[in-house]
Subunit: 392 residues, 2 copies
Amino acid sequence: MREDQIFLLPGPTPVPPQSLRSMSSPMINHRGPAFKEILEEVTPQIQKIMETKNDVFILTASGTGGMEAAVANFTSPGDKVLVASIGSFGERFKKICERYGTVVDFIDFPWGTAIDPEVIREKLNKDKKREIKAIFLQHNETSTGVINDLKAVSEARGEHPALLIVDAVSGLAAGELKTDAWNLDVVISGSQKAFMIPPGLAMISVSQRAWEVAQKSTNPVFYFDLKQYKEFLSKGQTPWTPAISLFYALKESLQLMLEEGLDNILKRHRLHRDMVRAGVKAIGLELLASDEVASPAVTAVIAPEGIQVNAIRSLMQNKYNVALAGGQGKLKNKIFRIGHLGYVKPTDIFAALASLELVLTELGLKVDLGVGVRAAQRVLLERSGENAHTSQ
Amino acid sequence: MREDQIFLLPGPTPVPPQSLRSMSSPMINHRGPAFKEILEEVTPQIQKIMETKNDVFILTASGTGGMEAAVANFTSPGDKVLVASIGSFGERFKKICERYGTVVDFIDFPWGTAIDPEVIREKLNKDKKREIKAIFLQHNETSTGVINDLKAVSEARGEHPALLIVDAVSGLAAGELKTDAWNLDVVISGSQKAFMIPPGLAMISVSQRAWEVAQKSTNPVFYFDLKQYKEFLSKGQTPWTPAISLFYALKESLQLMLEEGLDNILKRHRLHRDMVRAGVKAIGLELLASDEVASPAVTAVIAPEGIQVNAIRSLMQNKYNVALAGGQGKLKNKIFRIGHLGYVKPTDIFAALASLELVLTELGLKVDLGVGVRAAQRVLLERSGENAHTSQ
């Protein structure tokens, strides 16, 4: 396998060369001034990306570790919680919440659709005794390529005291997320997504209200004990030895992100989404999610009748060196997913669409060669026109 | 600060150039054949290093995460456990065990000494009802530079059914550890020690007896759920997205380790220990641990009367670019520690001892310049002679 894949997974995502190179730097003392400098540089930068003044911590773990940290720190056994699910990662929140002995009201929206905020509003309105302690949900559901309207969910919560706990592992810096403006109590993210670094770090923000809940939590928690993270952050340290090399990469990638600016990053993700969707539609394939809820991070494509998902993915990989993802959970063998998250460029999308056209042709589908690429080019052209216009 | 420090911490430890470079490789799919190949290559190699046929898993977490995984998977609330402590990491095991609701019998041996196996034997003999479920202990206590005699502790356990759960984070591949021969049920290690890679991975081995206990554990555990790790390993995967770059480095470092051979690695660690100890003693400083229990990973040196530990460490760092560790817990400001663990070479030790002689002189101590270096040289010379002799 060539190392220089066209790497269109919804995580891990491509890592910029300067971030990759930074990881070859020698070790430093994680209790010394050099590490402190990095930690104190990147932490406020992540706050900026999360649009928050809340505390933000960086855990050495994958995104799932961040999800568990949220459940472990901000619930107690017996707590009533809502888990609003639209896919595989919603189910993961349910599993973790159950593992920690909460009483889960699982709202299972159809896969490929977004959360209906009215359902949440109704659940909370009926909860006259204010027994619901937390609402768990995804910002972006990686398994289906759907983005939730967090602002609307937050408004639906209204004055209800339940914490809003958001898995934004694949959504942060791909789709809009305003932690403070939308009163999101806990936001979890992961390094191997829009942060453009390898997997191994999880980020988590904590509101004041969430801290009050954490004080009373009776769960056993040690490695993910966020109170320890807070105490050590005040010394410029993490409580346990951090994945130092990944911090080197984080520093480089955040530099790139801040140079580009959050608005431009979000615009870029919308552009790439629209290019992919236009291209795939023009090829004649069906998308799982409707345009209204389409994820700026990943697009789920329904495999055409009679063609195996694995056949498409293998040919894409083996003939053209393009990495695509398959389906998860109940969508396994039914969809393939094109990631357009993080350090992806328009030319990657052209290349992937051109390859996809050939692969589908080889697999017996009638494809008008170049049709997908042309549709993506048109989106790019229009969007450049708009930008030229608005900048006048 | 120069990047090329003489890096003598007991973790993180120096990383070989080829392992550092490997981390600049682009991302791969953690659910694809390339990652599977790495995971299936490194797992049996770690079994070799651990001298075990037991299951071995690699977690994306620091060593503390591995310690928590052991407590969470192999105890249940209310279980009676022994924690045999000889320092700061023993105290950490106690904290984690308490957090998980076990009833801890904490045996607090004096810091700087090793576990007395007779105390364990007596505790277990008195436990006629076989209520003690597990014994937690360190292989090597990083905070004091003392190595425990695991074989003797295992013999002291005898037929008692308590699990033997060993934190070998800093000890594995520095000091002898025979998982199977000594019936160690759970062995935990970490990447940033003798494995010579950056922090971020923890390794854990699990015996059949430990699995039986895990089946009945009632703790909430998700990210560290080893049953999930077992299920996914059979597919060549980890349950959650792994720190891919660190696996690249692990593959390189294990290659180096197996080329050197475990016996030679252990011999090298003993040599470096003896060089450091001889040098420090010749300078006129006092060591915390006696020769009989001295750690092959790290040496704790008692700060001379009237000289601040921080003054020594700062001058060593700022003038000579030599990184040393301070004391932890009740040894803070009383000792400094010289790590000689992992990718350290004799010339690093000469350089560190020469610098230490100058720093102590500057701080007002009367030091016969060169005396420490000479003592270390003599150890090296003798040892080379022995090797030359035995190889005839």
